[in-house]
Symmetry: C2
Subunit: 132 residues, 2 copies
DNA sequence: GCTTGACCTTCCAGCTACTGGAACCCGTAG
DNA sequence: CTACGGGTTCCAGTAGCTGGAAGGTCAAGC
């Protein structure tokens, strides 16, 4: 299968698929004319990568997950550990964004948003505490 | 003031301060020996940038906010618009992470995490729907 | 046989926002 | 005089692609 088909079936752009090959994730055969030739197993791996990436795993985590995927003797505990670490990371990010959100929405609420220059958002950024 | 002092007072690493100069955000004077020489106003701008960045504004948004900060005739509506756009973006990110979290925690809950190879997380990534 | 167009190839550059490191200069204290 | 803690520039690297240029391949249509 050519890369275009692999792209259609995996949901990854051709550029990304070539990139994944560059960094050693998926290594397809080559036909005589030099075109990449994807097997059904390759497509499965590409789909696997697509799903793992969209679940927020880094490329390096995907590399680990992929090798666990290929390992018939893997221990599910290994997979679970990676997923749990990622879960904790997601929680951290959500908490950070939520606190950001609180701060920013507080500022926005107190800004008139009119044609005058007075602006509590700028004041806060400038370091002048908001009068409440 | 030398860059080290500017760094202490703004909370930004020297490297970052030089970078901000490279991209045209803060332009300090130079002393005879070629050292950067920061005025009190420069420090205020650096602090402003530090706060805006930590609130999640991109460098480009910071550039806009900074020029509004410097503009005595700004309209607070302009600032509010930028802040509201950022707020909407934060909301989008939170929603995305929350949905990711749901999916991933569902998978983690169903994984035994033992020494056997069966793993619903891998199965899901491989595209086999979870039996529930 | 020739052209057109859609495909494929490689390689180089750019994106965000820094960060690390090398090689070198400046100023002061011992 | 030398050491040391500043400062300077410039180059390269990080993550994960993405865009674009220059060129090879293949099937269809005339």
């Amino acid at each position: 299968m050519n890369i275009g088909i692999a792209s259609d079936r995996s949901g990854l752009p051709p550029k990304t698929i070539r990139y994944y090959e560059d960094i050693g994730l998926v290594r397809p055969d080559r036909t005589d004319n030099g075109y990449r030739d994807y097997s059904v197993a390759d497509i499965h791996e590409l789909r696997f990568l697509q799903r793992a990436r969209s679940l927020g795993f880094s490329v390096d985590e995907c590399r680990q997950l992929l090798s666990l995927y290929q390992d018939r003797n893997r221990e599910s505990a290994d997979v679970k550990a990676i997923a749990e670490a990622k879960l904790a990371e997601i929680d951290r990010k959500i908490a950070e964004l939520a606190s950001l959100r609180r701060l920013l929405s507080h500022l926005v609420e107190h800004c008139q948003g009119d044609d005058r220059p007075d602006c509590p958002i700028i004041d806060e950024l400038a370091g002048e505490r908001m009068a409440r």
